[in-house]
């Protein structure tokens, strides 16, 4: 019988792995721009020593004016100098390392942790949910800075500790949101089907639930980039984490924010980079969500 209507949009083009996803991303101008920014930042982080115009640690003598003030952008220093007469451009480039590790890796871990807890609690419900979500509530109500301070006082400060603190603190909101969403997803029929064919929880959680949660994960993940990069600065300030003279975008802002009326470039440039990073991930994330959601194929 031929009465079965031909489905809409009968193309048989198919997704085939990461390469194809990348190709599709590049086809969208906004996503391509985002990818470009991310690639540039990763490049800057990896090859920092090669592309830095000057030594980011050198407090050069002519880097300060006679009164000891920092130099504005221009001349020998493309983005100006900081309060110690160091080349800001080089410091920002080197700072990309820390900030990417924090904003992307630590935040990524937090997102995964949050998603993991939320999805587990949401799917299993019952006692598992009660324990996990009460723990989440506790973590949410617990002041993150306190945790950071105590860790700072107990451990040797290092990037690892900051990353750890950020991961420990930032998963909470994620987990809340994912929990609620999972609960409603778990009621849906296609999850019931999975149980009826005998799928184990791991399969259901990761193969079937996770893809549907992607859009929330992306929203929270990208929002988290800015907040974690700035949180890193606060933590460094409290003595947990990267210590001077190691630069990060966050701590460059933090060190110099009181000077912003006299030396605005010290705040503006790192701020711009943070916004760019978050925006780039957002653009790519949005596009990725569309590409990975087959029902949205063909719509932009």
């Amino acid at each position: 019988m031929s009465a079965v209507a031909e489905p809409t949009g009968g193309s048989v083009r198919r997704r085939s792995g990461a390469a194809d996803v990348l190709r599709q991303l590049l086809r969208r101008p906004r996503a391509a721009f985002g990818l470009f920014i991310i690639a540039a930042m990763v490049f800057a982080a990896v090859f920092a020593p090669l592309i830095m115009p000057a030594d980011p640690f050198e407090q050069s003598f002519d880097g300060l004016d006679l009164m000891g003030g920092p130099l504005p952008p221009g001349g020998d220093y493309p983005l100006g100098t900081d309060l110690l007469g160091r080349d800001l451009a080089s410091r920002l480039i080197l700072g990309t390392r820390t900030s990417l590790i924090i904003g992307v890796l630590a935040n990524g871990v937090a997102v995964l942790l949050g998603a993991g807890v939320g999805i587990t609690a949401g799917y299993f419900g019952g006692w598992t949910a009660a324990i996990l979500m009460r723990f989440t509530d506790l973590m949410m109500a617990f002041p993150a800075l306190l945790l950071a301070i105590v860790l700072a006082a107990i451990f040797q400060p290092s990037l690892l500790i900051v990353a750890l603190v950020i991961a420990m603190v930032n998963w909470v909101q994620m987990s809340r949101v994912i929990y609620t969403e999972t609960r409603s997803l778990a009621e849906r029929e296609f999850i019931q089907v999975q149980r009826s064919i005998g799928s184990g929880p791991v399969r259901i959680l990761f193969k079937h639930l996770l893809p549907h949660l992607l859009s929330s994960i992306i929203v929270f993940g990208t929002l988290g980039i800015s907040t974690t990069v700035l949180l890193e600065a606060t933590l460094s300030y409290l003595g947990v984490g990267v210590q001077p003279p190691m630069p990060s975008w966050g701590n460059i802002i933090f060190e110099n924010q009181t000077y912003f009326s006299t030396a605005p470039w010290l705040v503006f440039f790192p701020g711009l980079l943070i916004v760019l990073l978050a925006l780039a991930f957002n653009l790519v994330g949005d596009a990725l969500r569309d590409i990975l959601d087959p029902t949205l194929k063909g719509r932009h």
Partner: protein
Amino acid sequence: MSAPEDTGPGEPRPVLTVRDLSVQVATEAGAKTVLDGLSFDLRAGETLALAGESGSGKSMTALAIMGLLPKPMARISGGAIRLGDTELTSLGERVYRKIRSARVAMIFQEPMTSLNPLMTVERQICEVLLEHGAVSRSQAPKRALELLRDVRLTEPERRLSQYPHELSGGMRQRVMIAMALACDPEVLIADEPTTALDVTVQAEILDLIRTLQAEHGTAVLMITHDMGVVAEMADRVIVLRQGRQEETAPVRDLFAAPRTEYARMLLAAVPRLGAAPDRPEPADSRKIVEVDDLSVRFDIAGGVLNRTVARVHAVEGVSFHIRAGETLALVGESGCGKSTIGKALLGLVPWQGSIRIDGQQTRGRSRAAMRPVLRDIQMVFQDPGASLDARMTVGDQVVEPMVVHGLARGSELADRAEWLFQRVGLSPDMLRRYPHEFSGGQRQRICIARALSLSPKVIVADESVSALDVSVQAQVLDLMQELQAQDGLSYLFISHDMAVIEQVADRVVVMRLGQIMEEGARDAVLRDPRHPYTRRLLSAVPVPDPTRRRPDLPETSGVEEISPIFPVGQGPARVELTELSRRHRVARDAMAKT
């Protein structure tokens, strides 16, 4: 180009005239015409049915008239729509707004999601009244109450202050109708107004629309794919197919002598109660499923300590069996526990009692221990769209059970998927598509293919064809029967559609409030119903024959709504079954009354 229809002398002037209406939607592959040159007239007091399979452009027509085509995807690409003297296609949004509801109103298929869950019924109705200045602010509540009375809603005063979720599906649809009729429109468009409802409720709603139409003289454009509904309601019918007008005829003519091949096929596919072929009585073969005293109760927790305060007695002391190669049908109104029984068989809900699948007792099995049993029993769920994962190719989903059970891997899987697709009549080159790229019928085939992949002995088919078009429904039913004939499959066939059941079932179990009311061989139950509840179900089925009027619904005595929720420690009174004959049992309380 179809000429304007001959209206004939003496006929009232048409209130709505549609000429050469075309609608295009933007797709990945460019603009696609989904409605092509549709023309018709609608006169006051008349009911015009727009029939046709899913995707034929029925809803597009309705939305085009309402000026609600989804922007920017869809647009009117040609033609004219005239409401009285007003040309609608060129109307600005501002003016259009004044026409909607005031002159053309519409009710939608899904009463569940069409109402705003956050507003009381009263506010939702008054909103329309006030927006169109039908009454003054102080008069609005009174008028709203009147409207609810008009749509025969029980306890209308109380309903006003209730929220949609506090109402049953039928009640919600009545509210929708009240809202649509609030400003006394000239035209009422009803887009599948009863598809989501129980048969009995459907019968009530259809009755209501008919009555109201008679009272107000409203012209009704009835959109449906159910030929039974068409026969019952329409004066004239337009059959649509892929956006084109296939046939237009007065309803009697169409049913008596369809002129086009397509209409003929459509009508042939309609299951008619009483017209099903006899089924050979299967030999008393092995019992594949034995259910004994099955009860399923859902706890309702509450209070400060979150203790169980009440229980939903979804299934209560049900016993039945299914033999190899046999189809057992489970019928009953929404919420009577049909799906729950199916789920209990697969261990998806906690239950008490005894269930044996091919001799294996499944009581007390953990999820993991249920796995081997699941190879013998599989389930096909009601909504084929919802039971497929939108993010996974159908090919992967069809063989997923085999992956889960470790039965195949690699290229073996691909072969198996192709084979399964062929078995359910799908082309293997569709394997790499995603669910949304299939029609409803195709999706249901995919679900069946998935259920078949483990080669089970029993399939629980939960409302497996309810969501499908008649023609597609017929195909799927055929497929199921074919599979049964080939493999000796057994089915537990869950449905509320008596006509469908008659076609496929060997035996029928009628359920109500979690208990069996009547049980027996198909013919015994459907042709000689003994329980009033069974009779009511049967008489609610629309008759796809405009010459025969469906009998009025019998008295509702003994079938009034009772909640399955009981406080802890209590439960419904157990219904005892008496044996009328070897293959026919009925609840004793009913016997007392007859």
